[in-house]
Protein backbone atom coordinates (compact mmCIF):
# COMPACT_ATOMS: atom_id res chain seq x y z
CA UNK A 1 0.00 0.00 0.00
CA UNK A 2 1.16 3.55 -0.76
CA UNK A 3 2.24 5.66 2.22
CA UNK A 4 -0.29 8.38 3.15
CA UNK A 5 0.20 11.82 1.60
CA UNK A 6 0.57 13.44 5.01
CA UNK A 7 1.46 11.73 8.22
CA UNK A 8 2.04 13.62 11.48
CA UNK A 9 3.19 11.97 14.65
CA UNK A 10 3.08 13.67 18.03
CA UNK A 11 3.76 17.16 16.65
CA UNK A 12 4.49 19.78 19.27
CA UNK A 13 5.22 23.38 18.54
CA UNK A 14 5.63 26.31 20.85
CA UNK A 15 6.53 29.93 20.28
CA UNK A 16 8.54 32.23 22.49
CA UNK A 17 10.25 31.61 25.79
CA UNK A 18 9.59 32.06 29.49
CA UNK A 19 6.45 34.06 30.31
CA UNK A 20 5.54 34.62 26.67
CA UNK A 21 5.87 30.95 25.75
CA UNK A 22 2.78 29.62 23.98
CA UNK A 23 2.34 25.95 23.33
CA UNK A 24 0.34 26.00 20.09
CA UNK A 25 0.51 22.40 18.92
CA UNK A 26 0.29 19.87 21.75
CA UNK A 27 0.80 16.44 20.24
CA UNK A 28 -0.88 16.24 16.88
CA UNK A 29 -1.41 12.84 15.28
CA UNK A 30 -2.87 13.29 11.85
CA UNK A 31 -3.06 11.55 8.52
CA UNK A 32 -4.35 12.76 5.17
CA UNK A 33 -4.91 10.22 2.44
CA UNK A 34 -4.53 10.65 -1.29
CA UNK A 35 -7.68 10.83 -3.35
CA UNK A 36 -9.52 12.64 -0.55
CA UNK A 37 -10.34 16.11 0.65
CA UNK A 38 -9.38 16.40 4.30
CA UNK A 39 -10.62 19.36 6.32
CA UNK A 40 -8.91 20.83 9.36
CA UNK A 41 -11.56 22.58 11.38
CA UNK A 42 -11.51 24.36 14.69
CA UNK A 43 -11.92 27.70 16.45
CA UNK A 44 -9.73 30.67 15.72
CA UNK A 45 -6.31 30.41 17.30
CA UNK A 46 -6.41 26.65 17.83
CA UNK A 47 -3.29 26.14 15.67
CA UNK A 48 -4.61 25.15 12.25
CA UNK A 49 -2.34 27.47 10.30
CA UNK A 50 0.59 26.50 12.46
CA UNK A 51 -0.07 22.85 11.69
CA UNK A 52 -0.21 23.30 7.92
CA UNK A 53 2.95 25.43 8.06
CA UNK A 54 4.65 22.50 9.77
CA UNK A 55 3.21 20.07 7.22
CA UNK A 56 4.44 22.23 4.33
CA UNK A 57 7.93 22.34 5.83
CA UNK A 58 7.72 26.11 6.34
CA UNK A 59 7.97 25.78 10.11
CA UNK A 60 10.01 23.30 12.12
CA UNK A 61 8.08 21.38 14.75
CA UNK A 62 9.50 21.60 18.28
CA UNK A 63 9.20 17.84 18.42
CA UNK A 64 7.49 15.05 16.51
CA UNK A 65 7.79 13.85 12.93
CA UNK A 66 6.08 14.81 9.68
CA UNK A 67 6.34 12.70 6.57
CA UNK A 68 4.99 13.55 3.14
CA UNK A 69 4.43 10.62 0.79
CA UNK A 70 6.56 8.49 3.08
CA UNK A 71 9.52 10.90 3.24
CA UNK A 72 10.49 12.27 6.63
CA UNK A 73 10.73 16.09 6.46
CA UNK A 74 13.15 16.48 9.35
CA UNK A 75 15.79 14.27 7.77
CA UNK A 76 15.52 16.04 4.44
CA UNK A 77 18.25 18.53 3.40
CA UNK A 78 16.75 22.08 3.17
CA UNK A 79 17.15 22.16 -0.61
CA UNK A 80 15.14 18.97 -0.93
CA UNK A 81 12.38 20.46 1.18
CA UNK A 82 12.22 23.48 -1.13
CA UNK A 83 12.21 21.18 -4.16
CA UNK A 84 9.44 19.09 -2.62
CA UNK A 85 7.33 22.22 -2.06
CA UNK A 86 7.99 23.37 -5.59
CA UNK A 87 7.14 20.04 -7.16
CA UNK A 88 4.62 18.34 -4.94
CA UNK A 89 2.65 20.99 -3.04
CA UNK A 90 0.19 23.59 -4.26
CA UNK A 91 -1.01 26.42 -2.01
CA UNK A 92 -4.21 28.43 -1.81
CA UNK A 93 -4.34 31.28 0.69
CA UNK A 94 -7.20 33.12 2.30
CA UNK A 95 -5.99 36.43 0.81
CA UNK A 96 -5.26 34.86 -2.62
CA UNK A 97 -1.76 36.42 -2.59
CA UNK A 98 -1.58 36.92 -6.32
CA UNK A 99 1.22 39.14 -7.59
CA UNK A 100 -0.55 42.35 -8.70
CA UNK A 101 2.15 43.30 -11.21
CA UNK A 102 1.69 40.11 -13.20
CA UNK A 103 -1.13 39.13 -15.51
CA UNK A 104 -3.48 36.33 -14.50
CA UNK A 105 -1.67 33.85 -16.77
CA UNK A 106 1.75 34.89 -15.46
CA UNK A 107 0.57 34.47 -11.88
CA UNK A 108 -0.55 30.94 -12.61
CA UNK A 109 2.75 30.22 -14.38
CA UNK A 110 4.87 31.19 -11.34
CA UNK A 111 5.25 27.63 -9.93
CA UNK A 112 6.37 26.41 -13.35
CA UNK A 113 8.77 29.33 -13.80
CA UNK A 114 10.13 28.67 -10.31
CA UNK A 115 10.88 25.16 -11.54
CA UNK A 116 12.80 26.73 -14.44
CA UNK A 117 10.29 25.84 -17.13
CA UNK A 118 10.55 27.89 -20.34
CA UNK A 119 8.30 30.92 -20.19
CA UNK A 120 6.33 30.01 -23.28
CA UNK A 121 5.59 26.51 -22.13
CA UNK A 122 4.70 27.73 -18.65
CA UNK A 123 2.25 30.31 -20.01
CA UNK A 124 0.72 27.70 -22.29
CA UNK A 125 0.06 25.33 -19.39
CA UNK A 126 -1.24 28.18 -17.26
CA UNK A 127 -3.68 29.19 -19.99
CA UNK A 128 -4.88 25.61 -20.32
CA UNK A 129 -5.74 25.27 -16.64
CA UNK A 130 -7.30 28.75 -16.50
CA UNK A 131 -9.48 27.70 -19.40
CA UNK A 132 -10.61 24.69 -17.41
CA UNK A 133 -11.47 26.90 -14.43
CA UNK A 134 -13.52 29.21 -16.64
CA UNK A 135 -11.05 32.10 -16.76
CA UNK A 136 -9.82 31.61 -20.30
CA UNK A 137 -10.94 35.11 -21.24
CA UNK A 138 -9.01 36.81 -18.41
CA UNK A 139 -5.49 35.57 -19.18
CA UNK A 140 -3.90 38.94 -19.81
CA UNK A 141 -5.70 41.00 -17.22
CA UNK A 142 -4.12 42.06 -13.95
CA UNK A 143 -5.63 40.26 -10.94
CA UNK A 144 -6.95 43.54 -9.53
CA UNK A 145 -9.53 43.64 -12.33
CA UNK A 146 -11.04 40.37 -11.11
CA UNK A 147 -13.64 39.78 -8.41
CA UNK A 148 -12.64 37.99 -5.21
CA UNK A 149 -14.08 34.70 -6.39
CA UNK A 150 -12.28 34.98 -9.69
CA UNK A 151 -9.02 35.81 -7.93
CA UNK A 152 -9.38 32.76 -5.74
CA UNK A 153 -9.97 30.69 -8.85
CA UNK A 154 -6.73 32.09 -10.29
CA UNK A 155 -5.02 31.12 -7.03
CA UNK A 156 -6.53 27.66 -7.36
CA UNK A 157 -5.17 27.41 -10.91
CA UNK A 158 -1.75 28.42 -9.58
CA UNK A 159 -1.97 25.71 -6.92
CA UNK A 160 -2.82 23.05 -9.48
CA UNK A 161 -0.84 24.05 -12.57
CA UNK A 162 2.20 21.93 -11.72
CA UNK A 163 0.03 18.92 -10.79
CA UNK A 164 1.18 18.68 -7.18
CA UNK A 165 0.49 15.59 -5.06
CA UNK A 166 -0.72 17.70 -2.14
CA UNK A 167 -2.87 20.84 -2.27
CA UNK A 168 -2.96 22.92 0.92
CA UNK A 169 -5.70 25.53 1.25
CA UNK A 170 -5.80 27.90 4.22
CA UNK A 171 -9.31 29.32 4.62
CA UNK A 172 -9.90 29.39 0.85
CA UNK A 173 -13.43 30.74 1.21
CA UNK A 174 -13.09 33.02 4.23
CA UNK A 175 -12.74 36.17 2.15
CA UNK A 176 -15.63 35.24 -0.14
CA UNK A 177 -19.38 35.45 0.25
CA UNK A 178 -21.16 32.17 0.74
CA UNK A 179 -22.24 31.59 -2.83
CA UNK A 180 -18.86 32.48 -4.35
CA UNK A 181 -17.10 30.36 -1.74
CA UNK A 182 -19.31 27.51 -2.64
CA UNK A 183 -18.45 27.84 -6.31
CA UNK A 184 -14.74 27.88 -5.53
CA UNK A 185 -15.12 24.75 -3.40
CA UNK A 186 -17.00 23.03 -6.19
CA UNK A 187 -14.18 23.81 -8.56
CA UNK A 188 -11.65 22.64 -6.00
CA UNK A 189 -13.52 19.38 -5.51
CA UNK A 190 -13.90 18.89 -9.25
CA UNK A 191 -10.39 19.74 -10.33
CA UNK A 192 -8.12 18.99 -7.42
CA UNK A 193 -9.33 15.58 -6.41
CA UNK A 194 -7.30 12.91 -8.07
CA UNK A 195 -6.44 9.40 -6.90
CA UNK A 196 -2.77 10.37 -6.40
CA UNK A 197 -3.44 13.71 -4.77
CA UNK A 198 -4.42 14.74 -1.28
CA UNK A 199 -6.28 17.97 -0.64
CA UNK A 200 -5.98 19.60 2.77
CA UNK A 201 -8.40 22.42 3.53
CA UNK A 202 -8.25 24.56 6.66
CA UNK A 203 -11.63 26.09 7.34
CA UNK A 204 -14.07 26.86 10.09
CA UNK A 205 -16.85 27.54 7.65
CA UNK A 206 -19.20 24.61 8.38
CA UNK A 207 -21.31 25.45 5.33
CA UNK A 208 -18.65 23.87 3.14
CA UNK A 209 -17.93 20.85 5.33
CA UNK A 210 -19.99 18.61 3.04
CA UNK A 211 -17.15 18.80 0.51
CA UNK A 212 -14.96 16.88 2.94
CA UNK A 213 -14.15 13.20 2.92
CA UNK A 214 -12.72 13.59 6.40
CA UNK A 215 -12.85 16.43 8.92
CA UNK A 216 -10.18 16.64 11.60
CA UNK A 217 -11.53 18.79 14.43
CA UNK A 218 -8.85 20.72 16.27
CA UNK A 219 -9.06 22.49 19.54
CA UNK A 220 -6.35 24.07 21.61
CA UNK A 221 -3.49 22.37 19.78
CA UNK A 222 -4.80 18.83 19.59
CA UNK A 223 -7.04 16.91 17.22
CA UNK A 224 -10.13 16.06 19.19
CA UNK A 225 -11.94 13.82 16.73
CA UNK A 226 -12.27 12.97 13.07
CA UNK A 227 -15.56 12.94 11.15
CA UNK A 228 -16.25 11.23 7.87
CA UNK A 229 -19.39 13.13 6.74
CA UNK A 230 -19.90 11.34 3.41
CA UNK A 231 -19.49 7.81 4.76
CA UNK A 232 -21.90 8.45 7.66
CA UNK A 233 -24.42 9.83 5.19
CA UNK A 234 -24.09 6.66 3.13
Amino acid sequence: MNPPAVHCQQIHRHFGDGDTRVHVLRGIDFTAASGQITFLAGPSGCGKTTLISVIAGLLQPSSGAVSLFGRDLASMPPDDAVRLRRKDIGFVFQQYHLIPALSVAENVAVPLLAASMKRRDALEQASAILDKLGLGDRLHQPPARLSGGQQQRVALARALVHQPRLVICDEPTAALDHETGHRVMELLAASAVHPDRAVLVVSHDNRIFHFADAIAHMDDGIITHIDHPNSTAA
Binding site: R85, H97, R158
Partner: protein, 378 residues
Protein backbone atom coordinates in the same frame (compact mmCIF):
# COMPACT_ATOMS: atom_id res chain seq x y z
CA UNK B 1 11.68 34.67 -12.14
CA UNK B 2 14.09 37.52 -12.91
CA UNK B 3 11.63 38.78 -15.47
CA UNK B 4 8.90 38.62 -12.84
CA UNK B 5 11.09 40.61 -10.47
CA UNK B 6 11.62 43.30 -13.09
CA UNK B 7 7.90 43.38 -13.88
CA UNK B 8 7.19 43.92 -10.18
CA UNK B 9 9.65 46.80 -10.19
CA UNK B 10 8.40 48.43 -13.36
CA UNK B 11 4.79 48.17 -12.26
CA UNK B 12 5.56 50.18 -9.12
CA UNK B 13 6.02 53.24 -11.33
CA UNK B 14 6.31 55.82 -8.58
CA UNK B 15 9.11 54.11 -6.69
CA UNK B 16 10.87 52.87 -9.79
CA UNK B 17 10.88 56.40 -11.22
CA UNK B 18 11.95 57.92 -7.91
CA UNK B 19 14.90 55.55 -7.65
CA UNK B 20 15.97 56.02 -11.25
CA UNK B 21 15.74 59.79 -10.84
CA UNK B 22 17.74 59.65 -7.60
CA UNK B 23 20.49 57.66 -9.30
CA UNK B 24 20.34 59.87 -12.39
CA UNK B 25 20.72 63.12 -10.50
CA UNK B 26 23.30 61.73 -8.14
CA UNK B 27 25.40 60.48 -11.05
CA UNK B 28 24.85 63.73 -12.93
CA UNK B 29 25.83 65.85 -9.95
CA UNK B 30 28.94 63.81 -9.21
CA UNK B 31 30.03 63.54 -12.83
CA UNK B 32 29.35 67.18 -13.51
CA UNK B 33 31.43 68.27 -10.54
CA UNK B 34 34.13 65.74 -11.38
CA UNK B 35 34.21 66.90 -14.99
CA UNK B 36 34.61 70.53 -13.92
CA UNK B 37 37.23 69.55 -11.38
CA UNK B 38 39.11 67.40 -13.90
CA UNK B 39 39.00 70.31 -16.33
CA UNK B 40 40.23 72.69 -13.66
CA UNK B 41 43.09 70.32 -12.92
CA UNK B 42 43.87 70.25 -16.61
CA UNK B 43 43.74 74.07 -16.80
CA UNK B 44 46.15 74.32 -13.87
CA UNK B 45 48.87 72.81 -16.05
CA UNK B 46 47.47 73.72 -19.49
CA UNK B 47 50.17 76.22 -20.50
CA UNK B 48 52.90 73.88 -19.23
CA UNK B 49 51.50 70.91 -21.13
CA UNK B 50 51.04 73.00 -24.28
CA UNK B 51 54.81 73.41 -24.62
CA UNK B 52 55.32 69.90 -25.97
CA UNK B 53 58.76 70.41 -27.46
CA UNK B 54 60.60 71.54 -24.31
CA UNK B 55 60.75 69.01 -21.47
CA UNK B 56 63.11 71.11 -19.30
CA UNK B 57 61.83 74.08 -17.28
CA UNK B 58 64.04 76.49 -15.32
CA UNK B 59 62.49 79.22 -13.17
CA UNK B 60 62.86 81.38 -10.06
CA UNK B 61 62.90 79.15 -6.96
CA UNK B 62 59.78 80.67 -5.40
CA UNK B 63 57.63 79.98 -8.45
CA UNK B 64 54.61 77.81 -7.54
CA UNK B 65 52.74 77.55 -10.81
CA UNK B 66 52.80 78.85 -14.36
CA UNK B 67 50.50 81.75 -13.57
CA UNK B 68 52.57 83.07 -10.65
CA UNK B 69 56.10 83.07 -12.01
CA UNK B 70 58.73 85.75 -11.47
CA UNK B 71 61.12 86.50 -14.36
CA UNK B 72 64.63 85.05 -14.19
CA UNK B 73 67.77 87.19 -14.12
CA UNK B 74 69.39 88.11 -17.39
CA UNK B 75 72.35 85.90 -18.16
CA UNK B 76 70.61 82.83 -16.84
CA UNK B 77 70.06 81.49 -20.34
CA UNK B 78 73.81 81.21 -21.04
CA UNK B 79 74.43 79.54 -17.68
CA UNK B 80 71.72 76.95 -18.32
CA UNK B 81 72.97 76.32 -21.84
CA UNK B 82 76.48 75.69 -20.54
CA UNK B 83 75.47 72.86 -18.18
CA UNK B 84 76.30 69.40 -19.40
CA UNK B 85 73.19 67.34 -20.05
CA UNK B 86 71.35 70.34 -21.52
CA UNK B 87 70.88 69.82 -25.27
CA UNK B 88 69.49 73.29 -25.91
CA UNK B 89 67.65 76.03 -24.05
CA UNK B 90 65.63 79.09 -25.09
CA UNK B 91 63.91 81.89 -23.18
CA UNK B 92 60.14 82.14 -22.74
CA UNK B 93 58.75 85.50 -21.63
CA UNK B 94 55.32 85.71 -19.99
CA UNK B 95 53.69 89.06 -19.37
CA UNK B 96 50.30 89.84 -17.87
CA UNK B 97 49.00 93.14 -19.16
CA UNK B 98 45.90 94.93 -20.44
CA UNK B 99 44.72 94.83 -24.03
CA UNK B 100 42.15 97.00 -25.74
CA UNK B 101 40.25 95.74 -28.78
CA UNK B 102 39.30 97.96 -31.72
CA UNK B 103 35.84 98.33 -30.24
CA UNK B 104 37.36 99.73 -27.07
CA UNK B 105 36.91 96.65 -24.86
CA UNK B 106 39.52 96.36 -22.10
CA UNK B 107 40.76 92.96 -21.10
CA UNK B 108 43.60 91.46 -19.05
CA UNK B 109 45.71 89.23 -21.29
CA UNK B 110 48.65 86.86 -20.92
CA UNK B 111 51.31 87.46 -23.54
CA UNK B 112 53.79 84.69 -24.27
CA UNK B 113 56.94 85.75 -26.10
CA UNK B 114 58.65 82.79 -27.72
CA UNK B 115 62.18 82.56 -29.04
CA UNK B 116 61.91 83.88 -32.62
CA UNK B 117 64.60 81.60 -34.05
CA UNK B 118 63.21 78.29 -32.77
CA UNK B 119 59.57 79.24 -32.05
CA UNK B 120 59.74 76.83 -29.12
CA UNK B 121 56.88 77.52 -26.72
CA UNK B 122 54.17 77.89 -29.33
CA UNK B 123 51.24 75.48 -29.06
CA UNK B 124 51.76 72.68 -31.52
CA UNK B 125 48.55 73.34 -33.45
CA UNK B 126 46.93 76.39 -34.97
CA UNK B 127 43.24 76.75 -35.67
CA UNK B 128 43.74 79.64 -38.11
CA UNK B 129 46.94 80.76 -39.76
CA UNK B 130 50.36 79.31 -39.01
CA UNK B 131 53.33 79.84 -36.69
CA UNK B 132 55.22 81.82 -39.36
CA UNK B 133 52.55 84.51 -39.25
CA UNK B 134 53.68 85.72 -35.83
CA UNK B 135 57.34 86.06 -36.76
CA UNK B 136 57.10 89.69 -37.95
CA UNK B 137 57.43 92.19 -35.11
CA UNK B 138 54.09 93.53 -33.91
CA UNK B 139 52.06 90.42 -34.76
CA UNK B 140 50.61 87.77 -32.50
CA UNK B 141 48.20 84.82 -32.38
CA UNK B 142 45.27 84.52 -29.98
CA UNK B 143 43.61 81.48 -28.41
CA UNK B 144 39.93 80.67 -29.20
CA UNK B 145 38.62 81.74 -25.79
CA UNK B 146 40.66 84.92 -25.99
CA UNK B 147 39.20 85.86 -29.36
CA UNK B 148 35.69 85.43 -27.97
CA UNK B 149 36.56 87.70 -25.06
CA UNK B 150 38.23 90.40 -27.11
CA UNK B 151 35.61 90.38 -29.86
CA UNK B 152 32.44 89.03 -28.28
CA UNK B 153 29.88 87.74 -30.76
CA UNK B 154 32.00 88.62 -33.78
CA UNK B 155 32.87 86.13 -36.52
CA UNK B 156 36.45 84.93 -36.63
CA UNK B 157 38.54 86.74 -39.24
CA UNK B 158 42.14 87.86 -39.46
CA UNK B 159 44.05 90.12 -39.40
CA UNK B 160 42.60 92.15 -36.53
CA UNK B 161 44.05 94.91 -34.46
CA UNK B 162 44.36 95.33 -30.69
CA UNK B 163 46.33 97.75 -28.56
CA UNK B 164 48.45 96.88 -25.58
CA UNK B 165 49.59 99.95 -23.68
CA UNK B 166 50.54 102.30 -26.50
CA UNK B 167 51.67 99.54 -28.87
CA UNK B 168 49.48 98.40 -31.75
CA UNK B 169 49.42 94.67 -32.37
CA UNK B 170 48.09 92.72 -35.35
CA UNK B 171 46.39 89.40 -34.63
CA UNK B 172 47.35 87.10 -37.50
CA UNK B 173 46.09 83.71 -36.38
CA UNK B 174 44.45 81.55 -33.76
CA UNK B 175 46.30 78.90 -31.75
CA UNK B 176 44.83 75.77 -30.23
CA UNK B 177 46.19 76.81 -26.83
CA UNK B 178 44.43 74.92 -24.01
CA UNK B 179 41.94 76.84 -21.88
CA UNK B 180 43.99 78.65 -19.22
CA UNK B 181 43.22 78.53 -15.50
CA UNK B 182 43.06 82.32 -15.34
CA UNK B 183 40.51 82.54 -18.13
CA UNK B 184 42.51 85.40 -19.70
CA UNK B 185 43.19 85.52 -23.44
CA UNK B 186 46.57 83.96 -24.31
CA UNK B 187 48.51 85.86 -26.95
CA UNK B 188 51.52 84.20 -28.51
CA UNK B 189 54.11 86.39 -30.20
CA UNK B 190 57.82 86.53 -30.79
CA UNK B 191 59.93 87.58 -27.83
CA UNK B 192 60.98 90.70 -29.72
CA UNK B 193 57.35 91.77 -29.86
CA UNK B 194 56.77 90.78 -26.26
CA UNK B 195 59.73 92.82 -25.04
CA UNK B 196 58.12 95.93 -26.53
CA UNK B 197 55.13 95.32 -24.30
CA UNK B 198 57.23 94.61 -21.23
CA UNK B 199 57.06 98.02 -19.65
CA UNK B 200 56.82 96.97 -16.03
CA UNK B 201 59.87 94.73 -15.91
CA UNK B 202 63.31 94.92 -17.41
CA UNK B 203 64.11 91.24 -17.22
CA UNK B 204 63.70 89.47 -20.54
CA UNK B 205 62.70 85.89 -19.74
CA UNK B 206 60.25 84.30 -17.30
CA UNK B 207 61.30 80.72 -17.94
CA UNK B 208 64.21 79.05 -19.62
CA UNK B 209 62.88 76.04 -21.46
CA UNK B 210 64.91 73.40 -23.25
CA UNK B 211 65.72 69.75 -23.57
CA UNK B 212 68.05 67.22 -22.01
CA UNK B 213 70.72 65.48 -24.06
CA UNK B 214 69.62 61.96 -24.94
CA UNK B 215 70.35 59.50 -22.16
CA UNK B 216 71.09 62.22 -19.59
CA UNK B 217 69.95 61.66 -15.99
CA UNK B 218 67.21 64.30 -15.79
CA UNK B 219 67.26 64.64 -12.01
CA UNK B 220 71.05 65.05 -11.99
CA UNK B 221 70.94 67.66 -14.78
CA UNK B 222 68.25 69.61 -12.89
CA UNK B 223 70.34 69.47 -9.70
CA UNK B 224 73.41 70.74 -11.51
CA UNK B 225 71.40 73.64 -13.00
CA UNK B 226 70.12 74.54 -9.54
CA UNK B 227 73.64 74.34 -8.12
CA UNK B 228 75.04 76.60 -10.83
CA UNK B 229 72.23 79.19 -11.05
CA UNK B 230 70.32 79.00 -7.77
CA UNK B 231 67.16 78.55 -9.88
CA UNK B 232 64.59 75.76 -9.73
CA UNK B 233 64.91 73.26 -12.59
CA UNK B 234 62.57 70.40 -13.32
CA UNK B 235 61.05 68.43 -16.13
CA UNK B 236 57.56 69.17 -17.48
CA UNK B 237 55.87 66.55 -15.33
CA UNK B 238 57.59 67.87 -12.21
CA UNK B 239 56.47 71.43 -12.93
CA UNK B 240 52.90 70.19 -13.54
CA UNK B 241 52.87 68.31 -10.23
CA UNK B 242 54.18 71.36 -8.40
CA UNK B 243 51.42 73.52 -9.91
CA UNK B 244 48.74 70.97 -8.92
CA UNK B 245 50.10 70.82 -5.36
CA UNK B 246 49.95 74.59 -5.17
CA UNK B 247 46.36 74.86 -6.43
CA UNK B 248 45.26 71.96 -4.26
CA UNK B 249 46.60 73.79 -1.23
CA UNK B 250 44.39 76.78 -2.16
CA UNK B 251 41.24 74.85 -1.19
CA UNK B 252 39.12 75.17 -4.33
CA UNK B 253 39.27 71.46 -5.22
CA UNK B 254 38.13 70.63 -1.70
CA UNK B 255 34.81 72.42 -2.34
CA UNK B 256 34.24 70.26 -5.37
CA UNK B 257 35.01 67.11 -3.41
CA UNK B 258 32.43 68.15 -0.81
CA UNK B 259 29.76 68.55 -3.51
CA UNK B 260 30.74 65.20 -5.01
CA UNK B 261 30.43 63.55 -1.60
CA UNK B 262 27.01 65.17 -1.08
CA UNK B 263 25.90 63.83 -4.47
CA UNK B 264 27.08 60.37 -3.54
CA UNK B 265 25.46 60.40 -0.10
CA UNK B 266 22.08 61.84 -1.13
CA UNK B 267 21.92 59.62 -4.20
CA UNK B 268 22.65 56.45 -2.30
CA UNK B 269 20.49 57.44 0.67
CA UNK B 270 17.40 58.21 -1.42
CA UNK B 271 17.88 55.13 -3.57
CA UNK B 272 18.47 52.81 -0.63
CA UNK B 273 15.55 54.27 1.33
CA UNK B 274 13.12 54.00 -1.58
CA UNK B 275 14.38 50.54 -2.41
CA UNK B 276 13.91 49.46 1.17
CA UNK B 277 10.29 50.70 1.03
CA UNK B 278 9.80 48.87 -2.23
CA UNK B 279 11.17 45.62 -0.83
CA UNK B 280 9.10 45.95 2.34
CA UNK B 281 5.92 46.42 0.30
CA UNK B 282 6.77 43.37 -1.77
CA UNK B 283 7.81 41.16 1.13
CA UNK B 284 4.57 39.18 1.10
CA UNK B 285 4.82 38.61 -2.63
CA UNK B 286 8.38 37.41 -2.27
CA UNK B 287 7.30 35.23 0.65
CA UNK B 288 4.63 33.69 -1.57
CA UNK B 289 7.38 32.89 -4.06
CA UNK B 290 9.39 31.26 -1.25
CA UNK B 291 6.36 29.20 -0.20
CA UNK B 292 5.78 28.14 -3.79
CA UNK B 293 9.33 26.81 -3.86
CA UNK B 294 11.59 29.56 -5.13
CA UNK B 295 15.01 29.11 -3.48
CA UNK B 296 16.57 31.73 -1.22
CA UNK B 297 19.36 32.24 -3.74
CA UNK B 298 16.78 32.94 -6.44
CA UNK B 299 15.00 35.47 -4.23
CA UNK B 300 18.32 37.24 -3.60
CA UNK B 301 19.01 37.22 -7.33
CA UNK B 302 15.56 38.68 -8.01
CA UNK B 303 16.03 41.56 -5.58
CA UNK B 304 19.59 42.18 -6.78
CA UNK B 305 18.40 42.36 -10.36
CA UNK B 306 15.80 44.92 -9.36
CA UNK B 307 18.57 46.98 -7.79
CA UNK B 308 20.83 46.56 -10.80
CA UNK B 309 18.03 47.57 -13.14
CA UNK B 310 17.49 50.85 -11.31
CA UNK B 311 21.23 51.47 -11.06
CA UNK B 312 22.05 50.79 -14.67
CA UNK B 313 19.23 52.91 -16.05
CA UNK B 314 20.00 55.73 -13.62
CA UNK B 315 23.72 55.60 -14.40
CA UNK B 316 23.02 55.59 -18.12
CA UNK B 317 20.66 58.58 -17.86
CA UNK B 318 23.01 60.46 -15.53
CA UNK B 319 26.06 59.85 -17.71
CA UNK B 320 24.08 60.81 -20.80
CA UNK B 321 22.98 64.04 -19.13
CA UNK B 322 26.56 64.89 -18.13
CA UNK B 323 27.82 64.04 -21.62
CA UNK B 324 25.22 66.34 -23.18
CA UNK B 325 25.90 69.24 -20.82
CA UNK B 326 29.68 68.97 -21.00
CA UNK B 327 29.49 68.63 -24.76
CA UNK B 328 27.34 71.74 -24.96
CA UNK B 329 29.68 73.61 -22.61
CA UNK B 330 32.78 72.45 -24.45
CA UNK B 331 31.65 74.07 -27.68
CA UNK B 332 31.77 77.45 -25.91
CA UNK B 333 35.28 78.76 -26.59
CA UNK B 334 35.77 79.91 -23.02
CA UNK B 335 34.79 76.52 -21.48
CA UNK B 336 36.59 74.38 -24.01
CA UNK B 337 38.60 72.70 -21.27
CA UNK B 338 35.52 70.84 -19.98
CA UNK B 339 35.28 67.15 -20.82
CA UNK B 340 33.86 64.04 -19.17
CA UNK B 341 36.86 61.71 -18.88
CA UNK B 342 35.75 58.06 -19.22
CA UNK B 343 37.48 57.21 -15.92
CA UNK B 344 35.32 59.84 -14.20
CA UNK B 345 32.14 58.48 -15.80
CA UNK B 346 33.03 54.94 -14.78
CA UNK B 347 34.38 55.89 -11.36
CA UNK B 348 31.31 57.84 -10.23
CA UNK B 349 28.97 55.08 -11.39
CA UNK B 350 31.15 52.50 -9.67
CA UNK B 351 31.17 54.44 -6.39
CA UNK B 352 27.39 54.80 -6.42
CA UNK B 353 26.93 51.18 -7.50
CA UNK B 354 29.23 49.84 -4.79
CA UNK B 355 27.26 51.48 -1.98
CA UNK B 356 23.83 50.84 -3.49
CA UNK B 357 24.53 47.20 -4.29
CA UNK B 358 25.82 46.64 -0.77
CA UNK B 359 22.58 48.05 0.62
CA UNK B 360 20.47 46.08 -1.85
CA UNK B 361 22.33 42.87 -1.00
CA UNK B 362 21.64 43.35 2.68
CA UNK B 363 17.92 43.90 1.96
CA UNK B 364 17.83 40.95 -0.44
CA UNK B 365 19.38 38.68 2.18
CA UNK B 366 16.89 39.89 4.75
CA UNK B 367 13.83 39.08 2.60
CA UNK B 368 15.32 35.77 1.56
CA UNK B 369 15.83 34.78 5.19
CA UNK B 370 12.38 35.91 6.40
CA UNK B 371 9.90 33.37 7.65
CA UNK B 372 7.82 32.49 4.56
CA UNK B 373 4.96 31.36 6.81
CA UNK B 374 3.96 35.06 7.09
CA UNK B 375 1.86 34.50 3.99
CA UNK B 376 -0.67 32.59 6.11
CA UNK B 377 -0.90 35.38 8.63
CA UNK B 378 -1.23 38.51 6.49
Amino acid sequence: MIRIALTMLRTDRAKCTAMILAVTFSVFLMQNQCAILASLYRMMTAQIDDVTDAPLWVMEPDTRCFEQAKPVKDGTLERVRSRSGVAWAVPLLKIDTMARSDSGLLCTVTVMGVDEASMVGLPSRFRFGQPEAIRPAGTCAVDPGGYAQLFPGEPVHFPRRIRILDESLVLTGMTEASAPFTGFPILHCSRVTALRLNKAENRTATFIIGDFTPGANRAAVCESITAATGLAAMDRAGFGEMALRFYNSQGVPRLFWITIAIGLLTGTAITAQTFSMFVREHTTQLAVCRVIGVTKARIIAMVLCQGLFVLSIGCAFGTGLTAITTHAAASEPFLRGIVLPPQVAAGTCAALAAITITAVTIMARRVALMDPAIVFRS
